[in-house]
């Protein structure tokens, strides 16, 4: 039997999980949880490209999620755009902002991107909180209906709201994972992984290090933006928390917990940290404590992340 490529295997596992899990749902509520996992998984897939592939870190990606979310809230009412086009508009704005912010910073290394993105995220959250007339301030703002579910119903496919968002977000996640996996194998992806190993070595063999890093940063910003849009459209409501510092930290923690170097691992991490508050109701109180602890422990003991470490153990035993 020919061995499956890692790419097809990942996509197959993911598609199977999305298709099969609903058969085990005790109630309709779990469609919502599933959809949330997929949306977080999408954002975290962007982190995989930035952190796992390129070895850079952003502490402000929630800012892009905020831009994507608020684009869906504001563009339909103020610009008359259809919500689906608002998603695109949000992604474009996020991409352009990432380009403008990233261009000066990514020439430098390590800490500078972390600090600049941290500041960027805080700035976005601040604007969303303070521009009450436009954004509704800390109370949040309503987001119009996407309208796709109604369209599907006209075509004879009648889904509940939960089911629709579960499968819709699942499909978007699959597309996102597919793009990320293709990128991994492309020349750009190889360049990213090369500079993860050593920026100087990558530069020596002719890779335009700053440009490649910038590409990764812009792409991951678009992922976060689309994820933010999907959350807003699904909840039909959004608050500035989506752009908050803790949301950025959640994204990074999900990625490193599951394994920032692997798409499937990172989505797995998103799954764990999304489910945790659902299972443990006291979790909210301990959230920061747990996230901080997870970040430190994973980086000290399981630097590759949970899934890759476990897979390696299993493989080692099999051979």
């Amino acid at each position: 039997m020919p061995r499956l490529s890692a790419k097809s295997a990942t996509l197959l596992v993911l598609a199977a999980l999305i298709a099969v899990t609903p058969f085990f749902f005790p109630s309709g509520y779990y469609y919502r949880v599933g959809a949330l996992i997929f949306v977080n998984g999408l954002a975290v897939t962007g982190i995989v490209i930035l952190t796992g592939y390129a070895g850079q870190i952003s502490l402000g990606h929630a800012g892009f999620a905020g831009i994507g979310g608020y684009a869906c809230a504001l563009a339909p009412t103020h610009l008359g755009l259809h919500p689906s086009l608002a998603v695109v508009l949000g992604a474009v704005i996020s991409g352009v902002l990432a380009y403008l912010v990233g261009r000066p910073i990514l020439r430098l290394k390590g800490y500078y991107l972390a600090v600049a993105t941290l500041g960027f995220g805080i700035l976005v959250a601040m604007v969303l909180n303070n521009e009450r007339q436009l954004t509704g301030g800390p109370d949040g703002i309503a987001v119009p209906e996407l309208g796709l579910r109604g369209l599907l119903k006209d075509w004879g496919l009648d889904l509940t709201n939960g089911q629709f968002w579960y499968f819709f977000c699942g499909i978007v996640l699959l597309i996102g994972a597919w793009i990320a996996l293709n990128l991994y194998q492309s020349p750009s992806g190889r360049a990213l992984r090369a500079l993860h190993g050593s920026e100087i070595a990558a530069g020596t063999v002719g890779i335009d290090v700053a440009r490649v890093k910038l590409q990764a940063f812009v792409i991951s910003a678009v992922y976060a933006s689309v994820a933010g849009s999907l959350v807003a459209l699904q909840n039909k409501f959004i608050t500035p928390d989506v752009a908050g510092f803790m949301h950025s930290i959640e994204m990074v923690t999900m990625a490193v917990l599951g394994g920032a170097g692997s798409v499937l691992g990172a989505i797995f991490g998103a799954g764990i940290l999304t489910l945790l508050p659902q299972v443990l109701t006291v979790f909210a109180e301990y959230e920061q404590l747990v996230l901080g602890l997870v970040m430190m422990l994973v980086m000290i003991f399981l630097r590759e992340g949970l899934l890759p470490s476990v897979l390696r153990k299993l493989r080692g035993r099999g051979e």
Binding site: T51, G55, Q56, I57, L59, V101, P104, I105, R107, L108, K109, G110, Y111, Y112, A114, V115, A116, L118, G119, F120, I122, L123, M126, N130, S198, I200, A201, F245, M246, I249, V252, T253, V256, E285, Y286, E287, Q288, L289, V290, L291, G292, L293, V294, M295, M296, M299, I300, R303
Partner: protein, 290 residues
């Protein structure tokens, strides 16, 4: 004119706090090449522990001492438990570890203390002093004086004492320092204790003016880092000047542009510095050995 003077006073006050945070960054960065994102949490702990101990009945000076010592011990613990075990890890891992420590300390402070905003009385009363048509709180003088005294103390320590020179030697070349008999592990411990203690002192001095809560740390970290970077990463003189400058820029932004977006000033400075002079005001161009 008196308006400008007023803005300058408030800028120097917050600037002194940022300068202390920036000095804390600098000490750890020099000793270990780690940028410790938990630096702002030390400021938070300085304020919160003092408030807590004071509320529990300790006199204020004693409460402040407890807070500084406890925070210094915590700094050492962070180094031993989280940073030493990851020695040689890529920069991204170290960033995640220190940010993790920062988030962890915030979470712990929420549980151990509470989520309210706290303060304690100013050290020398609340009667403002009038200088040139503007007023300044006596506590501001405490903060500004504190930053200057700490800077002078560090300068003496690093240039005039054997131990201070051992720290400098370690930051220059760890292996060579070990070869001439310097206990580099102790130097690391000392650096974290010193840095955390200075952060806590900043929290103690500033809380009567800026108030404190479990969540204030990250803002101090961001602005302290902006100050350290503006001055030139790793340069104590630069950290002091950069911290004060960030405070002044913030106060002038609040006074003349928008008080809502004064927080954005530090971020804009970070971007401008990165754009035009990544080595900062006093820094040298850094190169990396391969």
């Amino acid at each position: 004119m008196s308006e400008l003077l007023q803005f300058l006073f408030s800028g120097l006050t917050v600037g002194a706090v940022y300068a202390l945070v920036a000095l804390g960054f600098t000490i750890i960065y020099n000793a270990s090449d780690v940028v410790n994102f938990a630096q702002g949490e030390f400021v938070m702990l300085g304020g919160m522990v003092t408030w807590f101990a004071h509320a529990a009945g300790l006199p204020l000076p004693l409460a402040a001492l407890v807070a500084i010592l406890a925070t210094a011990a915590l700094g050492v613990a962070i180094n031993k438990l989280a940073i030493e075990p990851a020695r040689g890890a890529p920069v991204v891992s170290l960033i995640i570890i220190t940010i993790g420590a920062s988030v962890f300390l915030q979470g712990a402070a929420q549980l151990v203390f509470d989520k309210q905003i706290h303060s304690f009385p100013a050290f020398s009363g609340d009667t403002p002093l009038r200088i040139g048509g503007a007023t300044i709180q006596p506590q501001s003088l405490w903060v500004i004086g504190g930053a200057l005294v700490v800077f002078a103390g560090l300068w003496l320590f690093f240039t005039r004492t054997l131990l201070g020179r051992a720290v400098l030697a370690t930051s220059n070349n760890r292996l060579a320092a070990q070869l001439v008999g310097i206990n580099t592990n102790f130097v690391m411990t000392l650096s974290f204790a010193l840095s955390a203690g200075i952060g806590a002192l900043a929290g103690v001095l500033a809380t009567p003016i800026t108030l404190t809560a479990y969540s204030v740390g990250i803002g101090f970290a961001l602005k302290g880092f902006a100050g350290a970077m503006l001055g030139g990463m790793g340069n104590p003189k630069g950290a002091l000047a950069g911290g004060f400058l960030i405070g002044l820029i913030e106060a002038l932004t609040a006074g003349y542009l928008s008080s809502t977006y004064k927080e954005a000033a530090a971020f804009v400075v970070i971007l401008l510095v990165l754009f035009f002079m990544p080595q900062g005001l006093f820094g040298r161009k850094s190169t990396e050995r391969v």
